[in-house]
Symmetry: C2
């Protein structure tokens, strides 16, 4: 309880100190929200922790506040730690000095310490750290808790700001022991004999919707931290086990062209055709399905708002490949679709399949790639190694991974996923009345946006008189997002958010040509808190270059498969007492 | 009052008789709605007519009901008139027999008889008819009242069903006199000396929003009677006086191509380039603006739901013309827009202007035409004679009429209408804060639909247990309408409407290639009336091939110019007593 008291006591002091530093307005609300969230969590769990921590281990950083205020990825925060070396030197756990005296832990033991109640332990390069007291001072806010009970490495790989010596210095102060050898091996994924035995290792931050097949999304809170989503946390949507493909024996077959079947090696694909790179957002048709479930149960994985991610993709243009192997007017006169078949198969040997309209596949502006790189590296196994189709502006389901075959055809793919899935229906259509032939296969997706910050139920500190709201927005078909409106009164009044097309420190990307805006926009806004509301309903809605807007509510777009969930995103938050007590 | 009583007495008899004829379900509600509408009107005006009509002139057609039931354009109705010749022969006003005994009227006198209260007079080829008693028996319902007090010719030109001898026979029974010579001349439009002196004659059915410049839309009730909107009632949206262009001296200038300025005659345009024909819907950005006005006043013409129409357009492809005069990679590397300038100018000599993205102008799939024909004839003066641009899928404002100049350019048109008008803003943006540079010029329009039948406030007769609802749906950018959902309970439950891509007697048009669905779809549905509701809120919403949907409500898409008004269309009707008394 002493520990709790101390930590709670810190917050007001931080807020007073903050005024000494001229920190830009935009980062202040990220503290407010984070602080509110933490307070709320602590209040709800009370003092029921199973383990006590001595309060005298709270580091007395002179400028701890600055780091806390600086928000995600702010290098500045660490630089303001004038007292860090002095403090680290006084610590009993200086690296290399008393290492041998420290105990050895198993991974199981570490895993138990995954919350503020039970203590927050992490591992790094085989060493164990108890960072419970540091959580409140972490410049990246409570995102640090994602790593609680496990390894730091995957998270630091996401946030390059950690690759600095003084970060290791700070960490060293919290070292409490070592991981045993067996546990170190356990941190690697283990293989079994089931069809999913060859599944790749996944990032622990991913929120898993289904393990076999693997379907997972990143926590919404970190989704919009990066304009380009790191591959490890890019949402994963697999329909079948991940096939392990040998790049040496890999062949891509192409059917339906005048010269007969083409069989292409990976190195031919890479060397015979120019390499193109595009930045494109992929979104699962079921993104935000969980909101539809709240209206009436649908069939499908219960995706949150993060079954969408943005990456750079490099590969050969599908158009170039088809033209090279004889596509022309003669084929175009008969064919209307290009089918794709994956190397992922079910127990009967049936492969995943999908198709797209021919004009999208062959048009210069379609930008369809046979991609072999994601974010500048070979495709990861979860994203289709060695080759996948990237069909920008089109629903994720047609971006076939582990691509084995391309068929230029007069008909759509016969696959289940093209014919009897991934289609939209009226709210009045149920499983008794549905006729899958009556609806077109989803290709281009409609305008979409969601709020990534603050989170639902957060207690926001509004003592600064404004609230920062963040999110993403994207539209299908290459339609550029031209505006995002945000409301904090449930949609009565609206404010226009700032949009960006790169990370904050980067130059914004040049405007894409009309109809080729394949990448999302991240947005942010500071909204004045004028009223003494105890609860706020935050709402966002985006507008694309065709001035399509999102529907207001979910019920009228509800459909039995729970796809195309793009109504206004709504997040309810409570307002901190501090604010209510102000004049 | 006797007249009123008789007419009101007719309705129940009609309804009972209707069961003898096996008339398809789909036409019954059109009677219900019509009948309700008429009853409602009569009730509201009561017996305050200034003129009395003898009830003994009500024709005793044996099968009058059938005509009434058959709805708009049903030839069958007339064929069921077994008693018509017998009755016509007994009439005192047989054509040619007692003509000289009939009085001569002025147009002013005819004009006074424009309602059921004052009597319904019409003229046809210089003769005057009092058709008051026929209104209730008109197979096309109360649309006949549109012609009240004026000439029949323009309406009959819209509905070819009238071009039959027996129609003239029926009409002859109502002849009451002749139009004087002066009045006959007055029926032609007169010229004055103002800038609008050369304006063409317009169809009297048009509902005028602004006379100078001329802006008008057809009555919503007749909009969806024709899949191809007749040119005379196609909505008119002029920004300036209509220029009268001499086809002999007309020149189309083209700038921005390597060979310098091109000057093209009308006959060169017609003879040097292949003639292409497309069916395309044009919609004014301000269509349905009146609904936005109901939220908060906007600036702009108060359009109803009919600032949208569908026509066939023929002409040279803009792409072909540009390629012929040297457009290629060299130009494409610099240019991004194609500007258009009209021959319509304001008092300072400034022409109407607009531009479209280059890729739309030159792509094979863009289908942009330099059109010289509308619905198979020379463009009418109001629609840009002799040449206009038709940019299918794009807001009406860029489809420049009376085209004088084309400029391939690296920038958008500098015209007021491109830069400071026809842009969308957030509901929170007002005239004090608006920055027109912050929003893109409207090009592709979003998904749209509206209910053309029944009309707002109608009293619907639901004794047949169902309600027929009709309307149109369209989306910009060549996105095909794939579904229209209709509700009669304000959006709680939804039914899927039947869509059509041609007139009922025609074969449906073949599906357009993806992204080239330029024409609207008309829709219709018969919805069971299960509940004893006294009032129904009918709602429609459409879905396009990118699964974009219409927003639920207007307020959140309100904008200061009142453009892009595409929320669900809502129509409230009252339910007839008859239905409520049924078990």
């Amino acid at each position: 309880m002493q520990h709790l008291k101390n930590c709670q006591g810190l917050a007001p002091a931080f807020l007073i100190r903050s005024q000494r530093f001229r920190i830009s307005k935009s980062i202040i609300p990220s503290l407010s929200a984070w602080d509110g969230h933490l307070s709320s969590r602590w209040r709800s769990t009370g003092g029921h922790g199973k383990q006590k921590y001595s309060s005298d281990r709270v580091p007395k950083f002179k400028f701890a506040l600055a780091g806390l205020l600086a928000g995600t990825g702010a290098v500045l925060a660490y630089k303001l730690h004038q007292g860090k070396v002095e403090w680290a030197a006084s610590s009993a756990q200086l690296p290399g000095t008393q290492a041998s005296a420290l105990p050895v832990y198993s991974l199981e033991e570490v895993t138990k310490h995954c919350s503020l109640d039970n203590g927050v332990w992490v591992t790094y390069k085989g060493e164990v750290y108890d960072i419970t007291e540091f959580v409140a001072m972490h410049p990246g806010g409570d995102k640090i808790l994602l790593a609680a009970g496990g390894a730091l490495e995957p998270y630091w790989a996401l946030y390059a700001v950690h690759e600095q010596d003084h970060v290791l210095e700070i960490l060293s102060a919290y070292k409490i022991g070592f991981l045993n050898t067996e546990s170190l091996k356990k941190q690697e994924s283990t293989n079994t004999l089931d069809p999913y035995s060859a599944e790749p290792t996944r990032h622990p931050a991913l929120q898993i919707n289904s393990l076999k097949p693997f379907n997972a999304e990143p926590p919404a809170s970190i989704l919009s931290d990066n304009y380009i989503t790191p591959s490890v946390i890019f949402f994963k949507r697999n329909h079948l086990p991940v096939p392990r493909v040998d790049p040496e024996t890999y062949r891509l077959e192409i059917e339906g062209l005048p010269g007969g079947v083409v069989s292409l090696t990976l190195s031919e694909l890479k060397s015979c055709f120019p390499k193109h790179t595009i930045t494109a957002t992929l979104q699962c048709a079921g993104n935000r399905r969980s909101e539809m479930n709240s209206v009436k149960q649908v069939k499908g994985l219960n995706w949150g708002i993060a079954a969408i991610s943005n990456a750079t993709w490099s590969g050969a243009r599908l158009r170039d490949v088809l033209l090279h192997y004889g596509f022309g007017q003669e084929v175009a006169a008969k064919a209307q679709h290009v089918q794709f078949e994956g190397l992922d198969v079910d127990v009967t040997g049936t492969a995943y399949g999908a198709s797209i309209p021919l004009n999208k596949a062959v048009s210069e502006e379609g930008d369809v790639l046979l991609a072999y790189e994601m974010n500048g590296e070979d495709l990861p196994p979860d994203h289709g190694y060695p080759v996948r189709v990237v069909v920008p502006g089109i629903v994720g389901a047609r971006n076939v991974k582990w691509l084995g075959k391309i068929v230029v055809s007069d008909e759509e793919s016969k696959s289940h996923w093209q014919q009897n899935d991934y289609k939209g229906f009226s709210p009045g259509t149920d499983w008794d009345t549905v006729d899958f032939k009556s609806a077109p296969a989803i290709q281009e997706l409609p305008i979409q946006s969601a709020i990534t910050h603050p989170a639902e139920g957060t207690l926001v500190d509004s003592s600064h008189g404004e609230l920062t709201v963040k999110g993403y927005a994207w539209s299908g078909g290459g339609r550029e997002v031209v505006r995002v409106d945000v409301s904090i009164d449930g949609g009565k009044t609206w404010h226009v958010a700032r949009l960006r097309t790169g990370d904050k420190e980067q130059q914004p990307a040049p405007s894409p040509p009309p109809g080729r805006a394949w990448a999302w926009k991240l947005w942010e806004i500071d909204i004045p808190l004028l009223h003494r509301a105890q609860e706020l309903e935050i709402v966002c809605k985006a507008v694309d270059s065709s001035y399509n807007m999102q529907p207001d509510t979910i019920a009228p777009i509800w459909n039995l498969r729970g796809v195309l969930s793009n109504a206004w995103h709504r997040v309810k938050v409570k307002v901190n007492e501090d604010f209510k007590d102000r004049k």
